[in-house]
Each structure stands twice: as C-alpha cells, then as structure tokens.
C-alpha cells in the first residue's frame, strides 16, 4: 500500500509550490518533508510511527493526520449510518413486497424504482434535490454540516438530502438482495413443509422465510456500510459535507502521502471491523454456524 501510494506519478513538492518558485525553495521543501530520503527509509520511519498511533503530518496543511481524520470522522459516521437507515427503510419493505408477489405490478414498480436508484448518477440526484428543496421551495439549506451537539435541528436539516441520495443508491442495491433471498427462501423445501404442517402465513414468514433471508441482507448491508464509511466523495462535494471522502480526494490531488496512507489504513480497519461484526451477527441469526 505504501509503495502503491508513492508509485502514482506526481510530485507533492511541486504541487505544494504551485508554478512560481526557485530551485532552492524546491530543494528546501523536499528536505523538510523528508521526501529526499530513500523510499525504503521513508517506509520504515512511517511504519514505526504508525505502530505508535502517529500517522505523521500532512504536507499540505502541516496538521497531524490523526487530527485531520478525527475532525472529519463524525460527519462521515453520521452520513453513513443515516444512509444505511434510509436504505433499509426502502429496501426491506420494497424487497419483501416484490418477493411475496413476484411478477405482479407491485414487483415491477419496485424493480423500476431500484433500477432508477442504481443507475441515476448521485451528483445529478443531489443537484436536483438542492435546486428543488433549497432553491425553489427554500425548505432546506443547500448543504453543509453542523454537529448534532451544536444544534440538532440544523444537523437534521443538513443531513436529510445527502442521506437520502446515498440511501436511495444503497437501498436500491439492497432491495434486489432482499427480493432474491426472500424468493429463494419462499421456494425452499422447509417452507413448503411448514406450510404443509398447517402453520399460519405470518408464522411461516417470520420464522422460516425472514430468518433465512436475513443472512444475505446482513452481508450486503455490511458491504454497503463499509463503502459509506470510506466516504462518498461525490455526495460530499455536492452537499459540502466535510467527510473522509473529500479528505482522501484532496490528499490524492495534492499527493499528500501521509494523509492518503492514514486514510487507506483507516478504511482497511473499517472493513476488517465490519466483517467481524457481520460474522458475529451470522452466528446470532443462524445457530448452525455456531457449531
């Protein structure tokens, strides 16, 4: 990962200095930022510090990488969990209804909606929402982020649109998983047996269909959450949402290696943790896995 970040063409020193500078200035900054050292040495310095939780200092801002990430973490967490909530509120009812009545009108409408959510570019959806709700109607602010501790009302107002956009996109993906796993469960032998035993529809659905369909749902929700936690660049930019996606993008553009490495490290940890949680949930849902 370290090598990959450094292999990307582009010189952070030149980017930091812009177009007007002297060679002496270039050399001095290169030395100050440690980029004149051999790559291997840079790696061990970084790795040694990273082990102690010190991710270095941003070339661009001169601030520590940990403080830059910490500053943006609340906004990213807020948006990610709000989006997942929106996504599940869309996906579970929509997926279930269409699975219960496959090829019906309801199913077709649900398919069109989820197809729409997947294929419509998120920046477009975002701008349309801004123009309508912030522009024409004037109900919501056009973007930005306010911490919940500061003003819960303003927090919610600014969260609605970005959460809706990312929620619709994620929800559309999840809807299809819910539908197909429900359909599979509905068609399975044990459901037929349960129905043959004379169990009520509700009981069959809750205990035999839903529970089996939950496994894939948990998996795909975990994947979506991990994706959202690593920052949704486009939506963050459209709604001026100060999340990790924007930080990572700025770091790539400025070839700000310390920040980029810190962000990638964090994303890797997020994936690991979410995978662990998903696995633990599996055992809770499906007793067979516990053995």
């Amino acid at each position: 990962m370290f090598g990959l970040v450094h292999l990307v063409p582009g010189d952070p020193v030149r980017l930091a200095l812009g177009t007007r500078f002297s060679q002496e200035t270039y050399d001095a900054l290169r030395e100050r930022s440690g980029l004149d050292q051999p790559l291997v040495e840079q790696f061990f310095t970084w790795f040694g510090r990273a082990l102690t939780g010190d991710l270095g200092v941003s070339f661009r801002s001169g601030e520590t990488v940990t403080s830059q990430i910490a500053e943006r973490l609340p906004a990213t967490l807020t948006l990610a969990f709000a989006s997942i909530l929106v996504a599940l509120l869309i996906a579970i009812p929509l997926g279930t209804v269409s699975a219960l009545r496959p090829r019906s009108l309801v199913d077709r409408v649900a398919t069109v909606i989820s197809q729409f959510g997947i294929s419509v570019p998120d920046f477009w959806m975002g701008i349309v929402l801004i123009l309508v709700f912030a522009g024409t109607l004037g109900w919501l602010p056009s973007g930005g982020y306010v911490p919940i501790s500061e003003d819960p009302g303003a927090w919610l107002q600014r969260l609605l649109m970005p959460a809706l956009v990312t929620g619709v996109v994620s929800g559309s993906v999840i809807t299809r998983f819910v539908r197909s796993s429900m359909l599979e469960a509905l068609g399975s032998d044990h459901v037929r047996t349960a129905q043959a035993k004379g169990l009520g529809t509700r009981q069959v659905f809750t205990w035999h269909v839903l529970r089996n369909a939950l496994l894939p749902l948990v998996t795909v929700t975990g994947v979506q959450l991990a994706y959202l936690l690593s920052g949704v660049v486009v939506v963050e930019i459209v709604f001026s949402w100060p999340g990790l996606g924007q930080l990572a993008l700025q770091a790539v553009e400025a070839r700000d290696y310390p920040v980029l490495q810190g962000a990638i490290l964090l994303f890797a940890v997020v994936f690991l943790v979410i995978n662990l949680i998903v696995d633990l949930l599996y055992t809770a849902i499906d007793p067979r896995i516990r053995r």
Binding site: R14, E24, S61, G126, S142, L164, S240, E253
Partner: protein, 508 residues
C-alpha cells in the same frame, strides 16, 4: 449547468417528512453556529490548505489571508498600482539600489504587540533564509535592515523597479510579528495587522472576526465566514436563498442566466490573468518557427475564447490585458487556414503532423479550449491528440519536458516582469518550452532593471514582438473575474487581481 427532471419516489417521501419537521420555519443562514449579526458569509470553492502566508501557495488560503495580514505596500483596487499600506511612503536612492520605507505608526498586531521595523526585517528574512515559497521575490535583495523603529532599508544587488510589486503584490510577503514562527503555529493561527482576526477553521468553514484596533479603522462587519461550497449549483442556490451573501464560484456559462436574476448582483471584469499554449522547442517539428507560426495563424482566438469562457474573456495575442500601461497592441496573426497551410508548405515538414496537447482537468477551460484548437488545426494537416491529465502529472511532465505542447495560464500578474521574464528568458525557471533568443534576453534583462517607466515599456514592447513572432507562447486570452453577491451589499470592490477584501463591506 446541469439538467433538472423528475424526482424519485423516495424524494417525494422526504418532502412529506421535512414538511412536518420543518414546520414552516425559514432556513437559518448562520450555519455553523458562529454566524451572528453582521457576519458576511462568503461561499468559496475550496478549503484553505493552511494559514502560514509565507508557506502556502494556495489561492483559497489567500482569499482568507488577504483580510488578516498586511504588506508594506498594496495594489490599488482599481488599476493595481502600488500604494502605501504598512509603509506610508518610500524613497529610492539615486543609483536605485537602496529603498527606504517609512513605516506607519500606531499599528498593532492581533496579539496586541506594536508593529515596527524589526517585524519587517524578521518577516522578510524568514522568507529568504528558510527558502520559503516566495524567496524568489527577494532574488535581488542583499539585505533588509531596520534603520530605526519606523524605518526599514532594503539594499539591492541591481535596480529593481518592480520591488513594490514583489514585496506587496499579495499576502505571500505579509508582515508577521518578530518571533511569530517560533511562538505560534502559523499553519493554524494567524497574527496579522489586517482588518480581521482568524478565529477558527475546520473542514466546513473558516471564521474571521473584526479587529477593533485595526489601523485603518474597525471594519463595518462583525466578521466573515468563508464557507467551502465546491459545487457551483449549490453555491448559487445558497446565494439566491440568502444562506451566503457572496461567492466567486460562478461558472462562466452561468453568467448570462444570472444577469437577469433579481436575487443576485453579478459582476464580471477583466483580470490580470492570461491563458496560453506553448510548444516544445526541443521536439521536431515544433522546433521549426514556420510550423509554430502556422499553428498560431490557424488558431481562431475568438472562437477558442468563446468556447472556453462563454465570452467572459478578451482574446489577446500578447499577455498583458488592454488598458494596462504596459499593454502592447501587437497582433500579427489573423485566423486564416489558407495562410497557415502555406506556412507549413514553406517549412518543408512532412504532413500530417501529430501533436500531443497536454491539458489538465484542474482547469477545465483548458480542456474545452484544446478541443477547439484541435478542430481548428485538423484542416491544415495537424492531428492534435488532446491529453487530459491530473495536475500532478501535468506539472511533472512539464518539468521533465515530456510534451509536444501544453496549455495553462499565469494568474495574478502585476508587473510586466511577472508576465514575461521567467517564461521567456533563456534558462528561465518557467521557460519549460526551451525558448532562447539572445535579443529577447538582452531586452528582458535591461527592462527588469530599467527605472524609467516609458523606457521600460519600450523595452518590453520590443521583447514581446519577438516573443510573439517566435511563438514562444501562443497567447490566447485574458479571462474575466466573475463574482456574485447579494443585492444591496455595499463597499465591496471586485478586483482584477482576484484579491478578496471585505474590509469596507456592509451587509444589506
């Protein structure tokens, strides 16, 4: 900029939701909690990278720093001639080598300390000794000395008529208190003498407060909040519904639509920037002057300008915009494909010529301009491959000379030295195209130390004619500065150098 169509079903659902929770309240414009009375909210397109004026080169940082720091001298907002700021006046010795600046009295820094000559010496020496971003501006400076607390003397190695522009053109040469770099973390804190103090900055906005003891009189505003809104549609919506009162995030294609909008006051004035194309003198066939002239003849600058800037620019065959004292009216090329074809024939170069034209999506207008140029060169037998790369790659390839041709601009030019010197003198730090003409070298060298303005203009006029004829740069246009603000906002002056100053602004 982007189309509007139907809403998704889910969006309609949210409509109901907000209608309940919103309950008819109006949107609060204060935003991040800091916005109280009399705070101007300005929508800027990017977050400042840091606040050390001597270290950063980022425009978003200088948008803020312009209001926080001062320089010895400062460009006048209208014609950009240098006028007093922290220095009240200055004298130049007979030989042009010693400049004596008399400093303003009664100026205090934001930490309460008194401003004097030691601060100037400290600030300039910090830039010079640590080889910081703007060290090149002090190339001719031998020493900076405090004669007494109110007098600073700068000694030069050669006459430097543009010294005021070098040390006061923008806030990159700001005066900080003696010892500030050791005492404060200047990347996040600011200790200036300007009209506003830096209060806080995070990933959403930067907040300034009025400095009551400002030497020019306390500003009318209570403070300024710079809010980062990257998406132009969002910035304009925020301006229209009153969340922000000022923005420079106005794409040129929006100008026409905004001119009739009652919620927005829009201004578009010529800037001191220029955009150009340059060819690699080390790579045949672009080493052939006839080939370069053929290309300069084939390109229709008006069409390029219209496509790239939607009319918010002036086509120009030299760098300095019309109206400037140093502007030249030299314009030898007339868009003519037939004449261009003849020049190519004369050159004896085999056709078709393949030309890679390197542009960067960091400046989208170069991509548009390059496409137009490609279509104009195709009929004369030049196949242009428009290579769009990110800015980091672009800068690398420029520095390595790995290009047939490229496009970019020079921004914030004040003196003809900024416009022409390092770009065209043999071996100049910005002469990436590898141009070398001994006569031009002589003229540029003489002009750089000529103290009589008329003689100086004459020298630059001669140099630019050769630069244009040799097509060292193929000049395209001077873009406009485009900004918009709330109707009724007063005291704001839109400036050709893009400096953003809110000192005298009053809210509607």
């Amino acid at each position: 900029m982007r189309p509007t169509r139907l809403l998704s079903l889910a969006a309609v659902g949210a409509l109901g939701l907000t209608a309940c929770s919103g309950g008819g309240e109006s949107v609060d414009t204060g935003g991040g909690g800091g916005g109280g009375d009399d705070v101007l909210v300005a929508a800027v397109s990017a977050q400042p990278d840091q606040f050390d004026p001597h270290v950063t080169s980022a425009y978003p940082s200088f948008q803020v720093l312009e209001n926080v720091y001062d320089t010895l001298v400062v460009p006048n907002p209208d014609d950009l001639t240098m006028e007093p700021s922290l220095a009240t006046d200055w004298e130049i010795s007979e030989d042009g080598l010693t400049w004596t600046f008399n400093l303003r009295e009664g100026v205090t820094f934001h930490d309460g300390t008194e401003f004097d000559a030691a601060d100037v010496v400290y600030s300039f020496n910090r830039i010079i000794d640590e080889e910081l971003q703007n060290a090149y501006r002090f190339e001719n400076v031998e020493s900076v000395e405090a004669v007494d607390p109110q007098t600073v003397q700068i000694t030069l190695s050669q006459p430097t008529p543009n010294l005021p522009a070098l040390i006061g053109g923008f806030k990159g040469t700001a005066i900080i208190p003696e010892g500030a770099a050791e005492e404060y973390d200047l990347t996040t804190e600011a200790v200036g003498t300007g009209p506003f103090t830096l209060e806080s900055s995070d990933a959403s906005s930067t907040e300034l407060a009025a400095y009551e003891d400002y030497w020019g009189g306390a500003p009318e505003l209570g403070g300024v909040e710079f809010r980062y809104i990257t998406e132009p549609a969002a910035a304009l919506t925020a301006l229209e519904n009153g969340e922000v009162q000022w923005t420079d995030n106005v794409p040129p294609q929006q100008i026409e639509a905004l001119q009739g909008n009652e919620d927005v006051q829009l201004e578009s004035i010529p800037s001191v920037d220029y955009w150009y194309m340059s060819m690699n003198f080390a790579r045949p066939p672009f080493d052939n002057p006839l080939v370069r002239q053929a290309i300069a003849t084939a390109i229709d600058r008006e069409a390029v300008t219209e496509a790239a800037r939607f009319g918010a620019a002036q086509a120009n065959q030299t760098a300095i915009p019309e109206g400037n004292f140093f502007a030249s009216d030299y314009a030898p090329f007339e868009a003519d494909a037939e004449a261009a074809r003849q020049l190519l024939e004369e050159s004896g170069v085999e056709l078709p010529i393949d030309m890679g034209l390197m542009v960067t999506d960091e400046f989208p207008e170069t991509v548009t301009a390059a496409q137009v140029i490609a279509s104009q060169l195709e009929p004369i037998g030049i196949d242009v491959d428009v290579q769009t790369v990110d800015f980091a790659t672009w800068l690398d390839r420029q520095a390595q000379g790995d290009f047939d041709a490229f496009m970019l601009g020079w921004l914030g030019n004040l003196d003809p030295f900024d416009y022409y010197h390092s770009q065209h003198i043999t071996g100049g730090v910005n002469n990436y195209q590898g141009y070398s003409n001994p006569e031009v070298d002589q003229l540029l060298q003489a002009a750089s130390s000529e103290t009589d303005p008329d003689t100086r203009k004459d020298l630059y006029d001669q140099a630019i004619e050769m630069i244009v004829d040799d097509v060292s740069y193929l000049y395209l246009y001077n873009p406009n500065v485009v900004q918009a603000w709330a109707p009724g906002l007063s005291g704001y002056t839109i400036r050709p150098d893009r400096a953003i100053n809110f000192e005298d602004v009053e809210l509607p």
